[in-house]
Symmetry: C2
Subunit: 427 residues, 2 copies
């Protein structure tokens, strides 16, 4: 295929006419497809339905230690769920608090407590003139919304194939005491799907923060969310690495079963050093008497252990692969050589990240919408919703069926082409 | 019975000798009973076990409106659970957000957001020199812990048989702009068991707060927690009364099913004016994508409607009455006429509140503990854990069996008598 940038005006006009015809055809279909959010598909939800039988009126509701899950108690979660989440997050059980249905909520609460009470006895951020977070971009919009909500300044850090630009991270963290945190999705990153290299993780662990209350907000949301059996990403254990580097308290790890069991009805967890955990628990005891332990028991008994979790994730992968491949194949078949966009083929996670020509993302998303295909808003993957290049688009292929996904991808590549042709023609 | 205060020194010594003998007997029993917290008893938890069968792998997981409860969405709760909680809280469905497993958590979050972001666009409390809450006493320790945690000053307001001292409430609220809230448990109050009179509720609704962001924190935790069929307290609808009085936004109402279904695995809700609800939702959308909708569905389908809830609470009442009566009868039989303490016979709720002679509560609680009976720490029912009179003790009769409760009550009255005799002897 000839790259658009190498085409003559006439060639571009010919391409455009053909694309417009295709547009009319797709418009006539009156599609209604949603690729906006990372929502599991119907068949994925069905995988976890047997979990709902595990706890019933005949069940022994006591934990292994004999605590009644139906009553108050166990602020840090029942033992078996702590074990399960610890194994999933590759940490020790004592380093984990199992919470409610949302790791986003834990992250919000962690930031909120830092604002009102400071980190482990430090100055409350509300008393500081300036608090800054580093934000590898493109990243997860809901992370950025939390820091924006609390008036925390955000600095974009480029995210490469092996992780954030660590030169830049080190420069900011080690010299600027207003830098209190960095948002990371270290494995199968949202949205690019990349995983941090060992070198990147080690450089994180060896940061020498100017601020004592600097923390790495390590959202390991996709820790066991592989797409393939043979090619799986693994990342270094950040908690261990931080300990080795003499920075045991520098990281908070978050995860949940939202995309394993049920979004909104899963269990979530925070992992950190024992000292951090004790501090968080003492603050958490003001907020709640405890989280939903029956749901913790339900998850623990259904998955049994880490092997149970992994076996379950294999079934998810089987359902997700065709959807990802529908998009990736269409991108490859339709865009290869045109030089109007690039993307990474993820080995896990929930997203495919697409970079269009600069200044085209908003138009592409709008055109898709006009054809009935809803994508995550352009810019959402950047702090304040502002993509300086207007080029990143997050594709969430999990919710539609593979057939719908193929149609949606067809619409998507058409819009990418048409907007790109128009860009070149207008130059 | 002769009042201790009218006894001669010799009479007191005789009484003391007899009590000490009884003490030895009870000490020898090596009791282990806990009346510290308002935990439902085993038989109460059993009442809700069939709820665990309502949702299983064969269930249609869609709400009445067709939304899949297994996936993300419905930040304000599924429609049927909003209807259920609205009916329980005597408000309209649109005035309700159904949240997670803990109304305490909603209260904490509501205060936390006021601290960081202000109330409905007002100045964040963290930017103010002084924020004050009024605290009817005795009251709920966990309320006071929240305000203490956020550095909010607390002022004790006497709680009478018909509600707080409204002259004092009006004086503070209407004149002092630092007064941003008051904690209320308006029905079957924790711990005294009293309910607010219509006059008190109307005076609340007609407050003219000096602070625009003053709110009444109306924790209607025991709204349908009657002990008797024939004598039930009813309170005026505060949301309606506030609206009538031209103060539609002045109240937040909280409740949960913690003591209806399962503590820690129930559902909770906040009710307020539509404007407040919209504002809260917009802030809540940063914190979470939504609460556990499967559990909301479970509750909605099990209880069906307000009649189902009421029928369920009748069963709870049947289990609780003997426990309350075991305490009340023992108090009456053993302490009547001695003039060493007073208490209110509650018609609902979870507690019996006992007032000893001044300066005796801590000693009584300690002596009970020495005999193996754990009570809520003396002072806990007051802000900062400081009961100025050292006289209030909260008795939580729900967790032990009626037989255990009788034993515990026997221990309690013995300790009350012994500490009181010692007080008179030392004077």
């Amino acid at each position: 295929m000839k790259a658009y940038k190498d085409m003559s005006r006439d060639e571009l006009l010919t391409v455009k006419a053909a694309l417009e015809k295709e547009y009319k055809t797709l418009e006539a279909k009156g599609l209604e497809l949603n690729m906006a959010r990372g929502k599991p598909g119907f068949s994925q939800l069905a995988l976890s339905m047997p979990m709902l039988d595990v706890i019933n009126s005949d069940s022994d509701m006591r934990t292994v230690l004999g605590n009644d899950t139906r009553n108050y108690g166990d602020l840090d979660g029942i033992g078996e769920s702590r074990r399960l989440m610890a194994d999933m997050m590759s940490v020790e059980k004592d380093n984990v608090i199992v919470c409610g249905n949302s790791s986003l909520n834990i992250m919000y609460d962690t930031i909120a407590r830092s604002v009102t009470h400071g980190v482990k006895g430090g100055t409350p951020w509300s008393k500081l003139d300036k608090v800054t977070f580093l934000c590898p971009v493109p990243g997860y919009d809901r992370h950025f919304k939390i820091t924006e909500f609390f008036g925390i300044e955000m600095i974009n850090i480029p995210l490469y194939d092996d992780g954030p630009d660590m030169d830049m991270v080190e420069k900011y963290v080690n010299s600027d005491a207003s830098v209190k945190g960095i948002w990371c999705v270290p494995k199968y990153s949202n949205p690019t799907g990349i995983s941090y290299s060992d070198d990147v993780v080690r450089r994180f662990a060896n940061l020498k923060p100017a601020a004592e209350d600097f923390r790495i907000y390590w959202d390991n949301a996709y820790c066991i969310h592989h797409l393939y059996e043979d090619t799986q990403d693994e990342i270094l254990n950040i908690l261990d690495e931080c300990k080795k580097a003499g920075n045991p308290d520098m990281v908070y790890i978050f995860s949940s079963t939202s995309k394993i069991s049920f979004p909104g009805s899963g269990i979530s967890a925070i992992a950190a050093s024992l000292e951090n955990i004790e501090y968080i628990k003492s603050q958490m005891s003001i907020q709640t008497i405890g989280h939903d332990k029956i749901n913790q028991l339900r998850h623990s008994r259904f998955f049994k252990n880490i092997d149970g979790l992994k076996a379950h994730m294999k079934k998810h992968a089987e359902l997700l692969r065709p959807k990802f491949e529908a998009v990736l194949n269409t991108l490859e078949n339709e865009l290869e050589g045109l030089e109007i966009g690039n993307w990474i083929k993820p080995r896990g996670g929930y997203f495919i990240s697409f970079n269009s020509l600069p200044g085209c993302a908003k138009k592409i998303v709008q055109m898709c919408k006009d054809l009935g295909v809803i994508l995550t808003g352009a810019g959402a993957t950047f702090p304040y919703g502002k993509d300086p290049e207007d080029s990143n688009i997050r594709i969430a292929p999990t919710f539609p069926t593979p057939e719908e996904m193929e149609t949606a991808a067809t619409v998507f590549v058409l819009c990418v082409k048409l907007v790109s042709v128009e860009k070149y023609l207008s130059e």
